[in-house]
Amino acid sequence: MNAVLSVRNLTKSFGGNRAVDDVSFDLARGELLALIGPNGAGKSTCFNMMTGHLKPDGGTVSLNGSPITGLKPRRIWRLGVGRTFQITATYASMTVVENVQMALISHHRRVFALRPYAHRLYRDEALGFLDLVGMAAQADRHCAVLAYGDLKRLELAIALCHAPGLLLMDEPTAGMAPGERTALMQLIADIVAQRQLSVLFTEHDMDTVFAHAHRVMVLNRGRLIANGTVAEIRADRQVQDVYLGGGTLFSALEPPSDA
């Protein structure tokens, strides 16, 4: 399999606690892979090691066969990895289109340029990306007044600026209204198909995961306990247990009497 992203034996501890424990997986071109698990399972830690925000204690992350373990986020971005954040990160003082232009300025390596005026640079190109995510009509609005769902779309447009081969999305639909979630995931799925992108996303909304993911991985207490198709995951006893309470039975307790 020629994997876009390969993760091998990734491990990270905080204090004595193994937040991520020997995690390995591959992500193929064009694949939409979901990483799920209960709170505290290690999803974010795992994710942050791939984006360069955390350095792993052990293990490797490779992009198209070359190691990217421990590189800074901006280096990883240059290598063609786009990302979106769980809590949106946009430039609140700029307009929508300027947010995208900023990413394009960086893409064209003109961050330190003193001319021309930034608002004229790559505007058409930026509008193209906004069009792609359905935000063209709001291009000149102040970013700070956007609805949450639109901020998420804007982030997606920013992430696409560098023509990434891989998108890492941390809870792409968190905080969105149910209707918006479906629309955004459909949009992502379309873009993935169109551009042959690979996507790894964490998500806690099961409907979203089951409706759109090609493959699902389940993390619990830092370990990968399942990795398979949607149908396989739904049928997995261990996964059910993890989500419903880890199998602790409380035999010592009497049932409550005040019912």
Binding site: R74, A89, Y91, I105, S106, H107, V111, L114, C143, V145
Partner: protein, 620 residues
């Protein structure tokens, strides 16, 4: 050996007052997250109040009673300040509160002048502790020994209060997690007030206790401010043992410096601070924490657009009008407007850093003074012509900013601010003490423009061209990709870094550019005045610029320039009155409370409300 021990003891004695004042500052910052610039003023107030009480209360009992009473009185003044000035602005961006405390400094200065007069007061000797004791042949004042004995008890009492009482437990809890303390049923407002009382009482105690050694004068507020900042930062913000350790370190170093390196005592303190922070960025006993707010909380700044044709026309008309000043106004007005122009460029350069970059520098005077001294030194020592000096002033200041910025930008928030202050002070002390080269306190004089530019009219036009040019250059940079990247780094460092922007490099560049522009202002200043003195590098210089940017409006592109013009003009009018500081201080406090968006921001809002300007969508 005797001398060595005597010096050590003097240093330890001096550490007493320093520790009391610094621990107060540290406590207040720990709980309220306010950097109380006025803390030196409470120290000064302590000295004056203590002086008066000691006149009234007789004997040894009266002397020590006066010191205790002073602590309580100054603490209560602190409570008044907290309730009247700070409570209304707790919700404003954190660093905005600094500006309010700066207003308090001015008010207290003039109140002290009104009550106690301009002359320095000589502190009374402590009854029964008037002589000296000979230790290995060296005289050591008895009062010093008393202080050495007392300070640990004060520290111990403070430690007991903080470690053992309910109030202390709440203070420590609030230092870690204010919100949770509130969720457990503790009323934060009263906790804040209580901490302010305690912190100010300690400052007052410090002021009273040093009376027999130092007396009381109107400059002691700023004189101690730098030292207590250094102590708090070296010790680690919020750490009492750290403050004690650092107070001893700084005081002992100072005493030995006076003996062995008389040319560099002041420099030494700041060198030590810079070294400590480079090795332990959060101080000797401090712990890493989330940095303070970069002055950007509240609603985000609005998008900027290059000026349209109409605004350009208005600005051009304004500049043309300015150009007419020497022709229609009296000569003193020409000189005044020259000063204002220079100050506006200085303010605009800080605004670039603070407004667009979110980088709050407490030491921007380093670059204004840096430019000024670059120019002055070139003329004084190399006979360089003005033209060359004015070219090299911004370059020298910019180079300085590159060096200082490289070190300071490793830190963020309040630590960044403190480190910039330390470097400015380092530079000040260097200039102050390196008399052979810089003229020290006497400054460098007789640095006038060449004949062609010697008339105030010609120099005015020179200043007009350079200052307006500098301000426009900064504005241009703001609209350029570089300026956008700077705002991007401020708005969301996460996103900027995740899209390939090296945010620290961008901020470093901005720091250098702002430094260079401040240096240009400084260079012009030297030739406008014909001289330069170390006070161009002082804290007050840095604070002036800081106040101006906040008052003008951090979140507006023209805030720096407008604030600078208004501030200099108002100051010019007010300084004709005897108690101008009081008036200025009250004005500053009023603006902070009534117009938290600054002059430009509030005017804009007013214009929108009256329908003169187009309001943004969603009422933001």
């Amino acid at each position: 050996m005797g001398l060595f021990i005597a010096q050590l003891l003097t240093g330890l004695a001096n550490a007493g007052a320093l520790f009391m004042v610094a621990s107060g500052l540290s406590l207040i910052f720990g709980v309220t997250r306010i950097v109380n610039f006025a803390h030196g003023s409470f120290y000064m107030l302590g000295a004056y109040v203590g002086y008066t009480l000691m006149q009234v209360l007789p004997g040894a009992f009266g002397f020590w009673g006066a010191i205790l009473l002073t602590g309580i009185i100054v603490g209560l003044v602190g409570v008044i300040v907290e309730i009247v000035v700070l409570r209304p602005v707790y919700r404003a961006p954190e660093l905005f509160q600094l500006v309010a405390t700066f207003g308090v400094i001015l008010v207290i200065q003039d109140l002290a002048l009104m009550i106690w007069g301009p002359q320095d007061l000589l502190g009374p000797r402590a009854p029964g502790l008037k002589g000296v004791v000979r230790i290995l042949g060296e005289p050591v004042p008895k009062y010093d020994l008393a202080l050495i004995g007392i300070t640990p008890f004060v520290a111990l009492a403070l430690w007991w209060l903080i470690a053992r009482t309910r109030v202390g437990i709440l203070v420590r809890a609030a230092t870690q997690d204010r919100e949770m303390v509130g969720a457990l049923g503790v009323n934060q407002s009263w906790l804040f007030t209580g901490v302010f009382f305690l912190g100010c009482a300690l400052a007052g105690l410090g002021g009273a206790v040093q009376l027999p050694k130092g007396g009381a004068d109107l400059l002691m507020d700023f004189n101690i401010l730098a030292s207590i900042f250094v102590v708090v930062v070296i010790g680690g913000m919020g750490s009492l043992p750290g403050a004690y350790l650092a107070a001893v370190l700084v005081s002992v170093l100072n005493v030995f410096g006076v003996t062995y390196l008389p040319q560099s005592t002041l420099v030494l303190m700041f060198v030590v601070m810079a070294l400590v922070l480079m090795i332990r960025p959060y101080g000797l006993l401090g712990r890493e924490e989330v940095a303070g707010d970069p002055g950007q909380s509240g609603e985000p700044e609005r998008p900027i657009k290059p000026a349209g044709a109409r605004v350009r026309l208005i600005v051009a008309a304004g500049i043309a009008l300015l150009a007419l000043v020497p022709l229609i106004a009296p000569p003193f007005a020409t000189v005044l407007v020259t000063d204002i122009l220079i100050f506006c460029l200085f303010a605009a350069s800080l605004h670039f850093l603070l407004g667009l970059g979110g980088l709050v520098s407490f030491g921007h005077a380093a670059f204004f003074g840096g430019g000024a001294y670059t120019a002055a030194l070139l003329v004084a020592h190399a006979d360089s012509p003005m033209e060359l000096a004015l070219l090299l002033a911004p370059l020298g200041a910019g180079l300085l900013a590159l060096i200082i910025g490289w070190i300071c930008l490793r830190l963020t928030g309040v630590y960044f601010a403190m480190l910039t202050l330390a470097f400015a002070q380092l530079l000040w002390s260097l200039v102050y003490q390196w008399g052979d080269v810089t003229g020290g306190d006497d400054g460098l004089v007789d640095i006038w423009p060449p004949d062609w530019a010697s008339s105030s009219t010609v120099f005015f036009y020179l200043a007009l061209v350079l200052c307006v040019g500098g301000i426009l250059a900064l504005r241009h940079a703001a609209h350029a990709p570089f300026g956008y990247a700077l705002r991007a780094a401020r708005d969301s460092k996460r996103q900027a870094e995740a899209t390939g922007i090296d945010t620290r490099a961008v901020q470093w560049g901005a720091f250098a550019l702002a430094g260079a522009m401040a240096g240009l202002a400084g260079g012009l200043f030297v030739f406008a005045k014909g001289s330069v003195f170390p006070n161009e590098l002082e804290i007050t210089r840095s604070f002036d610029a800081l106040i101006v940017v906040f008052l003008g409006g951090v979140k507006t592109l023209s805030g720096g320039v407008v604030g600078g013009a208004v501030f200099e003009s108002v100051k010019d009018v007010l300084t004709r009155f005897e108690y101008w500081r009081l008036a200025l201080g009250l004005t500053i406090i009023a603006v902070v409370i009534l117009a938290p968006e600054g002059i430009v921001g509030s005017l804009r809002r007013l214009g929108e409300r009256l329908g003169l300007l187009r309001a943004p969508e969603d009422g933001s």
